[in-house]
């Protein structure tokens, strides 16, 4: 693991994301993240361990593996396998979100058939690791009590089912609502945002519209007097299966098939290959352990070095590109590539209690501490579309990158020309956009190690080292 992230921990080293559950908590032991299990959870933990439940889930790659570090009367300490970078639900593409939801249902169904339940169904209990979704909250399992409804049902709707159905009608920007609603989108809000015709779907009607109605009706039961209905195991399993089938078939309405951006590039195939070659030549000798490609699209350029870098992140603002990248990860069974959605001009903030329950993107990137950051064909968007001065974008990259490979398209590049033309009468406000000013701005935080024109293009590739 890289250096401990101080902002994610209290003085005692307790991880800020794990204070809600009385069963235990996460803490940093030096640089290692471990989990303490409180005596209140000993019976569950022992049963899950002895029955082979944990073993099966870990073997199947569904639950993050852990080792038992110490056992005492007052606490058990386990050490989970480290995950280099945690992505949050608002950074997932549609397929990723879908897979995380299906993953959760699968776990609950399996738990149920083994006499356990998932006591919560938070989307934050799933993250992507080694190319697949994995469940990371080892203490989320509890004993099943015969005849009880699923306690985490509503949470599953507000964290998974609701956002997915909303995305179908409104697009994947809906997932960003999870940034302002850390415990999922309220059912009433989901219901109100869905088109009337969704009432005709038995699955959406019962799981969302009816649920919203029932929640309002019973919201004033302060004394918890109303008797909770009983639900057989078979009935519960029907709910799970029906949600599973529905989500599996869910597709975006405006399913803009990934249009292959690289067909629309303004340079020749030879130049494209030249750029790939150049990147490979620059990256390989640096033997990076971790690399991030910011604005990396569908991962085309990151894939040129994927065989030499143990861990690669690729972000893009376009959820479709991320989705396409994720599909490739799955098809090629790549375990060292993690795609996620990120808008550089508006990176994910720190959210939740104290603003520290979920770390901001920059905090997580600092902790990830990539050996190389790539920013190809990105600076003209940041500078011209986002009106961000060079020195400010340099400051951004310097926060988490020791080495930066950045591509600078000159004014003569057709994409830059088009961005400038769109400024119309304000075009001359952007006269500063040139190589010299770029270098001056970036020189405040970096030194130029290498500089080369990509053959056959009006673009310059820089290798910069942080000062």
């Amino acid at each position: 693991m890289s250096t401990k992230n101080n902002t994610a921990t209290t003085l005692a080293g307790v991880h800020e994301a794990s204070f809600r559950d009385p069963s235990g908590y996460m803490f940093y032991d030096g640089d290692t993240l471990r989990r303490v299990i409180n005596p209140i959870y000993f019976p569950q933990y022992n049963k899950l361990k002895e029955s082979g439940f944990f073993k099966t889930l870990i073997k199947q790659g569904l639950l993050i593996p852990h080792t038992e570090t110490s056992v005492a009367d007052d606490k058990i300490v386990i050490t989970p396998e480290p995950i280099p970078f945690i992505t949050n639900p608002y950074e997932w593409s549609f397929q990723q979100y879908k897979h995380a939801a299906l993953h959760t249902l699968r776990l609950q169904k399996y738990a149920l058939s083994n006499g356990f339940i998932l006591k919560d169904a938070s989307a934050y209990n799933v993250t992507f690791h080694k190319g697949k979704p994995v469940f990371i909250d080892t203490l989320s399992f509890d004993f099943y009590e015969e005849g009880t409804p699923w306690r985490a049902y509503k949470q599953f709707i507000t964290h998974f089912f609701g956002p997915l159905v909303l995305a179908k009608y409104h697009g994947t920007d809906i997932f960003k609502m999870l940034q302002t609603h850390i415990d999922g989108i309220p059912v009433k809000l989901i219901s109100s945002m869905l088109p009337g015709k969704t009432k005709l779907s038995a699955t959406i009607h019962t799981n969302i519209h009816l649920l919203a109605k029932m929640e309002s009706k019973h919201s004033e039961d302060y004394k918890a007097e109303t008797k909770v209905a009983r639900l057989s195991k078979k009935q519960q399993s029907n709910i799970l299966e029906s949600l599973f089938n529905f989500i599996k078939k869910l597709e975006l309405n405006e399913s803009t098939e990934w249009g292959n951006y690289y067909d629309k590039t303004n340079y020749e195939a030879a130049a494209f290959e030249g750029k790939k070659k150049l990147i490979r030549e620059w990256v390989t000798p640096l033997t990076p352990q971790r690399l991030i490609d910011v604005g990396g699209n569908d991962g085309t350029f990151a894939r040129t070095v994927l065989d030499t870098v143990p861990d690669v992140l690729v972000t893009d603002i376009d959820s479709n590109a991320v989705d396409y990248n994720y599909t490739q990860v799955q098809e090629n069974k790549e375990t060292n590539m993690l795609p996620f959605v990120c808008d550089v001009l508006q990176p994910a903030p720190g959210i939740g209690f104290n603003n520290t329950e979920r770390n901001s993107l920059i905090e997580r990137l600092k902790e990830y501490n990539p050996d190389i950051t790539m920013a190809l064909a990105l600076i003209h968007h940041i500078t011209l579309s986002g009106n961000v001065p060079f020195v400010k974008s340099a400051e951004f990259f310097a926060k988490f990158s020791g080495t930066l490979i950045i591509e600078f398209p000159k004014r003569e590049d057709s994409w830059v020309e088009s961005l400038l033309v769109r400024k119309r009468e304000f075009m001359n406000h952007f006269d500063f956009y040139n190589e010299t000013n770029f270098e001056t701005g970036y020189n405040q935080f970096f030194t130029i190690e290498k500089k080369e024109t990509v053959p056959g293009t009006k673009r310059v590739l820089y290798l910069l080292k942080r000062k």
Partner: protein, 70 residues
């Protein structure tokens, strides 16, 4: 023992009976339709990581029992 460290929502607990009933009808008709399609040889092979909700667990006795029933 259950720890109710978050409010599961009373409405959400009650509604599950209705949701389950609807789900039961849907699954029943889905299975019936599946059998009709299978009878006429219209089934397509689906290939997806998340094709089935059931975890393929060889040690799972429940699945073994199902196998014996067939």
């Amino acid at each position: 023992m259950n720890f109710l460290y978050f409010d599961p929502g009373l409405g959400a607990m009650i509604v599950q009976a209705v949701v389950a009933a609807a789900a039961g009808v849907l699954l029943f008709s889905k299975n019936a339709w599946y059998k009709v399609k299978a009878f006429f040889g219209l089934l397509k092979e689906e290939d997806d990581t998340y094709d089935s909700i059931d975890i393929d667990d060889k040690e799972d006795t429940e699945t073994n029992l199902d196998e014996h029933k067939k």
